[in-house]
Structures are given as C-alpha cells and as structure tokens.
C-alpha cells in the first residue's frame, strides 16, 4: 500500500473509533451530542501533554488518557444530561466551544501554536509508523467495536435503548435515567479519548482547531450516514466520508457543503442510515440473502 492510502486509512480508522463512542451516546442512549470532538480533543491533549511534559510513553499514559476523558465526560455530562433534545444539542455545542477555547487561550495547552514534538509509539522496541501504526489503530478499533457489541448485549445497553425510546416508561421499569445516560456518556467519551491519544501520536502535532465544532458535525454526519445504533455504522460512515473528499479532491473547498447535502438527503430519504432497519441496503441484502438476519 502506498503511504498516501495508508494515511487515509489510518485517519478513517481513528475517526471510526471516535464515531463508535458517539454511537454509544447518540445511537444507543439517544442523547444527541454536537460536541463530541471536544472529547476527542481532550484525549489528544491529555496524551500530548503526558508524552511531552511528563515524558510518559503512549502505553503508560493510555489508561490515564482514557480515564481523564471519561471523567471529564462524567463532569460535563452531569449538567448537560439534565436537559433534553434541542437543549442538549445546544449545551453540547457550548461544551465544544468552551473546550476549544481552553486549548486555544490557556498557555499550558500551547495556545495557538498547539503542541508539537509528540513522540512516536514503540511496541516491543519497534517504532510504529505507516502500515504498522495503521495495524495498531485497527487493533484498537476491533477492541472498541467488541466493547460496543457487548454493550448492546448487556443490561446496561438494553437500559439505554429503553431510555432512547421512552424515558418515562423506562423509569417505570427501574431504569434511572440520569445514571444510565451518564454511563453511556462516560463510555462514549472514553472511546473518543482513546482515539484522541492515537491521533496525537500519529499527527505528532495537534492544535485546538483539530477539535473544533465542524469536526463534531463531521463525526455526527458519519454516524447518521452509517445508521445510528448499528455496530458497523461508524466504520462505514467514517470510510465513506473519509474517502470521498480524496476522490473529489478538486472539490475539497465544497466539502462542508457536500456533508450538509449528504446529511439532508439522508434525513429525507434514508432517515435510519445506510445500515438502518428499513434502509435500501438492507432491503437489497434481504433479497440477496433470503432468510438472512435483518
């Protein structure tokens, strides 16, 4: 594989991990989040600071990065999950802008210059770059997808599905809305944090604008395109929205316009996403594989 392709594939896989986290929050628990890039950023900045200022290796800092992201998710989730729907959307946008501003204006986080000189990752004395780094990201994606797969099959996941469908009915069945929404939020932000750490060590230079509000929109677009609440949706969405701008390179200036159009078209014609229950892809699949699982 050429370096160019590997770069795109690596970014797609990292994005897929972030979107997996978003899927837990939005797809499973039904809590709309328009500020997911903030938690991606918190993971990246934690990893960058632990690597450059504390001199820790990727492996030593990784558990801390995941815990920090999850804890900040818990902290920011507490006030925001008490509001619903439109208000939650606005609150999460606010979180995104505040987190970005903190990175941008507090000197500890490198200000406008960002943080550079982030070391590469070593595994068994091997320096990971190019294809080997891609394999590392892929391994983490597999782990994250396994975690999502399990989450959808355990009682905590079922409780989140119930909350998504009807909060009052769920509460009358012993499900604490605040507790399970927070759980989904913490799991989702921890996954974003993990992806952030990979991103920081891959780019080796990060700045606040990497995690701005438009990034959150892109992440949400990937999820909506793939199909909210579906296991493979994050990877599919990240792959399509990651590859298309490369294919249509001359149109890159219009990328945001393109995303918006895709989002609107999906909402109008395929509201449950490409992998959704009543989507075109599933209908075709059902015809090709009769009796196959929907």
């Amino acid at each position: 594989m050429s370096g160019y392709l590997i770069t795109i594939a690596t970014i797609v896989v990292i994005n897929a991990i972030v979107v997996c986290g978003l899927n837990v929050i939005v797809g499973y628990a039904g809590q709309i989040s328009l500020g997911h890039a903030a938690f991606f950023g918190i993971g990246a900045y934690s990893a960058a600071i632990l690597a450059t200022k504390a001199g820790l290796s990727f492996w030593a800092s990784l558990p801390m990065v995941v815990i920090i992201s999850g804890l900040v998710g818990l902290l920011l989730g507490l006030p925001s999950l008490r509001v619903k729907e439109d208000f939650l959307a606005i609150t999460t946008i606010g979180i995104n802008f505040i987190v970005e501003a903190v990175f941008l204006y507090i000197p500890f986080f490198g200000g406008a210059l960002g943080i550079g000189g982030i070391p590469r990752i070593y595994l068994f004395g091997l320096k990971l770059k190019g294809f080997s780094f891609f394999l590392l990201c892929l391994a983490f994606l597999v782990l994250v997808m396994l975690a999502c797969w399990w989450f959808a099959r355990c009682w905590a996941g079922l409780a989140c599905f119930a909350l998504r469908e009807d909060e009052q009915a769920a509460a009358s069945m012993g499900i604490s809305p605040v507790r399970f929404k927070l759980l989904a939020f913490v799991v989702g932000t921890a996954m974003a944090g993990l992806a952030g750490a990979l991103y920081a060590h891959y780019m080796r230079f990060i700045s606040a604008s990497d995690f701005s509000f438009p990034v959150s929109i892109t992440l949400l677009s990937m999820l909506v395109l793939g199909g909210m609440g579906k296991l493979w949706a994050p990877l599919l969405g990240a792959a399509i929205l990651g590859a298309l701008p490369e294919i249509f390179r001359p149109l890159v200036e219009y990328r945001i316009l393109f995303y918006t159009a895709v989002l609107l078209l999906m909402i109008r014609f395929q509201p449950s996403g490409l992998l959704g229950d009543d989507s075109l892809a599933r209908k075709v699949l059902a015809r090709v594989v009769p009796g196959g699982r929907s």
């Binding site: 009682w155 119930a162 069945m173």
Partner: protein, 257 residues
C-alpha cells in the same frame, strides 16, 4: 390488624392555582382490586403519577409496603415492586415485543453496578419473558416491532411489562379505553388472573360498567377530592356519584315536579 399495601393520606397536588388533587385519602389492601373512578379532570391520573413517583406531591403522605414513598423517583418505586401502565401507551417502539418485556425483566439488574454487564438475551430470560407474553396472549407477536402493534395489543404489552415489574402492586391507567368489546372481556379475565397470582391491582377506570364488575372496592374522585368510597353496590346508589356523572338533572326535575 391487616396492614394495607398502599396508603395515601391527605394527598395534594397543586399546579399553580389549580388544585388537581386536594386532600385525598384511601388505602389499598393486599390482594384486592381497587378502582379509582371519576369524570375527566377529577385528578385520577395525577394521583397515579404521585403514587408512581412521576410527580412530587404538594402535600400529604404516601406509604407503600410500609415505607414512606412520596417524593421518591419512579425507578426506585419500580424497584420496590410497583409496576404501572400509562393512559397514553408508551411502548419502546423500535424494540420487539419480546425485547420490551426483557427491558422490564432487567429490574433485577439495573440497581447494581456489577449486574448490569451480564447478557440480557440469555435462554432463561427469553423463556421467562415468553411465559409472560403467553399469559397476556402476545406470544405469537414476540418478534414483531412494538411500534407496529394496534392499541389493544399495546395495552396488553404494557400490562405484561407491569406484571414483571409489579411484584406487589400494579397500577393500570385506563387500560380499557379505546378497546373493542371482545378485547374488554379478555382484559377483564387477565386482570382477574393477575389478582389470583397474589398481585394487588389499583386501576383507574372511566367506564362505570367495567369497574363495577371488576373491582372489590371503588373510590370516586371529583374535582380533586374523594366523593365516595365503597363496594360497587354502595357506589351505584350513592346520590353524589350519580350527580357527578349524570349532572343535576334529577334534582332539577324533582324541584320542577
């Protein structure tokens, strides 16, 4: 002396100046079917919402299974063995009928952090949920998405969920409204079966005839206050109840004639 399962004392709920429920007392004994009857806006559903924890009472006290429960959130009351249905049905629409019941079966898991990580689609769980669905007559529709069911089946589904959660008490909020004649009698049988299982039932009903047939005792509410309480015969001959339901024509006629 026999302890009541549910006791409500001086229960009040005010929304601004509106006194939706204004000093209501009643109790539900273990194993009985108690009906709450009353015209629209009498405060029946508000009473239910306070008992099940959705509203905090403005005043008064609620005792469920000997513990004081007014002001507790709904999920805690559910964990104590109180199940309920909703007047406007609230199915988990994109989940299947079976999954809807499995959500209710999770009541044994949701309270403990370590127990929420176990799988919910195990053989035992599915078998138990299917058992409940057979009881309410929805077993054949187990794999159907709940959002596709007609109202009568949705009411049964809600009762199925309430039966799993309500180990001690089930609140049924107008479960008969909007049902066809055949469905009504089947639902009556189901409620009697629930009582035979040793579960106490408190139901709100609009339909006089149904509640007269089904309930051991009836409490009549009107304008947020208790109008009458007693057996079906006592209620039927109660002058105040007749007035609340039929208006004051009789007395007018009497005065005119």
């Amino acid at each position: 002396m026999k302890q009541p399962l549910l006791k409500v004392e001086g229960l009040r709920k005010h929304f601004g100046g509106l006194k939706a429920v204004d000093g209501v007392d009643f109790q539900v004994d273990r194993g009985e079917i108690l009906g709450i009857l009353g015209p629209n806006g009498a405060g029946k559903t508000v009473c239910f919402n306070m008992i099940s924890g959705i509203y905090k009472p403005t005043g008064g006290r609620i005792f469920f299974d000997r513990a004081r429960t007014d002001g507790l959130p709904p999920f805690r009351l559910a964990a104590m063995g109180l199940g309920r249905t909703f007047q406007i049905v609230k199915p988990f629409t994109s989940l299947t009928v079976l999954e809807n019941v499995l959500v209710a079966r999770g009541i044994a898991h949701y309270g403990r952090f370590r127990r929420i990580w176990g799988p919910w689609r195990s053989k035992d769980q599915v078998a138990a949920a299917m058992g409940i669905l057979e009881q309410v007559g929805l077993a054949e529709l187990a794999g159907r998405k709940a959002g596709l069911l007609p109202l009568g089946n949705l009411r049964r589904l809600e009762i199925a969920r309430a039966m799993v959660v309500g180990r001690k008490l089930i609140l049924l909020d107008e479960s008969f409204s909007g049902l066809r004649h055949g469905e009504v009698s089947r639902l009556e049988d189901l409620i009697r079966t629930i009582r035979q299982m040793g579960i106490t039932v408190l139901l709100i009903e609009h339909n006089l005839r149904v509640s007269m047939k089904l309930c051991d005792r009836i409490v009549v509410l009107d304008h947020g206050r208790k109008l009458a309480e007693g057996t079906a015969e006592q209620i039927q001959s109660n002058q105040q109840v007749i007035e609340a339901y039929l208006g004051r024509r009789r007395r007018k006629n009497a005065a005119g004639g």
